[in-house]
Amino acid sequence: MTDRTPNYIHFSDYTKHIPENIPVAVQQATNRFLGNREARVAELPNWQELRQVAHEIRLHTLENLDFYLTQLERQVVQNGGVVHWAANSAEARAIVIDIATQHQVKTVVKAKSMASEEIGLNEGLSEAGIQSFETDLGEFIIQLAGVGPSHIIVPAVHLKKEEIANLFANKLGVEAPPEPVQLTAIARNILREKFLKAEMGISGANFLIAETGTLVIVTNEGNGRMCTTMPDIHVAVVGIDKVVPDWDSLTVLLKLLARSATGQKLSTYTSFISATSRGSSEGGPKEFHLILLDNGRTRILHDPLGRETLKCIRCGCCLNVCPVYKNVGGYAYGWFISGPIGAIFTPQILGTHIAQELPFASSLCGACVDVCPVKVPITEILLHLRQRVVEGNQHVKPSAPLWIRSAGKIGTLAFQIPWLYQLGTRLLPFLTAPLNKRGWIPSLPPPFNRWTRVRPFPAFSARFRKWWSK
């Protein structure tokens, strides 16, 4: 079975050949979402309190994750669902295919789910001879185009309506005018047939409520509702980090999610699914399977700082503010998750040897930390991972040569020992006196001249303590 998990992520190589439509489209999307978000944040008087409580809830859940997952499993089973545990992508795919094969499923409809992207589910299903249709409009378009998502919320934003019309004409054989309203209507009709025909619907989940075993799914188009209502079998693939303790906790997280993601107060549809249908009139699936995916998350839990990565509720706001992401788009990050959260999630899940470039794909400006609704300390974790790359990773040369690192160590020492520091402040003005031209050093001998080739160096002059005592 093929695995879409990358062997190495060539971030810097990719950034040298970015198609020019990507940054333009991505910035249109991110600026729209950010503008809306700002308006929503301004409306709420207690935004910062909400973020603080959300952070506390998410961290508390992770610190007691075994308890909440055990409770969740018990509740789902009590509600009549089946719980499966998948240690990795291959196991998760195998479980889905197994359920599909047992029920002779030929057609699957899929709601947008990052977990299914993470495990490469579409490829797995296709190899098993099962047709799967992405039903989110953007995902449907990029599935037809055979490309990956350029943005987490609007995955096909880099495609022009004319390109989409051509795609519909070529792949679906329909007359398609380049008009969003009509293109949407065509997709609605085609996917409506699939919804009615499909034997199985696959979704992810935004949250799992431990106390009642409830799946919470948020969508705008209604495809999440269709996938979890129309087919007889509903399978949800969800990361173990998605659990929340109770409905009280959910009041906080739901208020933050849509506002941070698209700047909506709430997304159009939020479904709370605890049990299957109780009869033919009610509608809804007859069978429910929940696949809980680990795929390296328990390994992240070991590290108290890295653990905070798993607080993420996948709003995508950190992408929208990130100056690096806005210029390179989603593809550069090499896996299903991009932007600042991808830069910390991917190296921890796949290992720093595969994603060693990602912790460096940031200017550490911290804009992501300011907007994150659950306060993931992204810059701290980036630095933490840079250290891990440099120290533990044989593939990477240290970024500075030996003499600079030695000089750095001596500098650190000097700042720690007062007499050495004072000796230095007295000696340096004398040693550099021959180079000093009216308070500036215009050129330095090699190897120090890399600085002075571009700009003069300020001369060592006063002694700070002496100046301060005046």
Partner: protein, 211 residues
């Protein structure tokens, strides 16, 4: 079951926890929003739904029939799905629609048959003014599909169901098998960020608050 689960075991190892460890210090949650007067809450609900391109307003019981006639003309309705609840039944919409040659499709019909309806009529179990959200529970007489499959969704809303915040909704709905929040008509911005209504769910959402 979880005693032999290697994932749970790994989590416990990572967190230094033992199988019988309990949970301490659950963070406390912020208080719910305080309700305004009933009229101002209704005004807010109407304003929010309309901001989202829904059509919300107050009507009187006497206006229901003429409004229904108008709706089936404007939206070209021939087949309808209808929830079967005591509150909704008091308006006799079934009889009125049938007398105007609208076919009411039974709720236990096949999926294909249900999908042919252009209009779905429901009530709402709760409504949240701050976000313009309608909360619908499901049962045999309140199918999940009525508010999903048709192109047009009409909600007849009892003003008594308006509550100030999520807390009051969840307190009542938490043990239900299925709940859906509906905040405006189905929408997407997936093509060139242009907002388009009615992707998979209803394109038109009418909310008539019966005052």
């Amino acid at each position: 079951m979880s005693n032999t689960n290697p994932i749970i075991d790994n989590i416990r190892k990572a967190l230094n926890r033992l199988p019988n460890d309990t949970v301490s210090n659950k963070p406390s949650i912020l208080k719910p929003r305080i309700s305004g007067s009933q009229e101002s809450e209704l005004d807010m609900l109407i304003a929010e739904i309309n901001k989202l391109s829904g059509f919300a307003r107050r009507i009187t019981i006497d206006q229901i029939e003429s409004e229904l006639l108008n709706l089936i003309k404007v939206e070209k309705i021939t087949k309808t799905l209808l929830w079967d609840t005591p509150w909704l039944n008091q308006f006799n919409a079934r009889k009125f629609l049938e007398s105007n040659n609208i076919e009411i499709i039974p709720n236990n019909s096949s999926k294909d048959k249900l999908a042919q309806c252009e209009l779905g009529i429901t009530e709402a179990d709760f409504a949240l003014p701050e976000t313009g959200t309608l909360v619908l529970l499901s049962s045999q007489s309140k199918p999940r599909t009525t508010s999903l499959l048709p192109r047009v969704h009409l909600v007849l809303l009892n003003p008594q169901v308006v509550v100030p915040d999520l807390h009051q909704v969840f307190a009542s709905t938490r043990d239900n098998p299925y709940t859906v929040f509906i905040t405006g008509p189905s929408r997407t911005s997936d093509i060139e960020l242009i907002t388009t209504l009615g992707v998979h769910g209803p394109k038109s959402l009418y909310v008539w608050i019966i005052c």
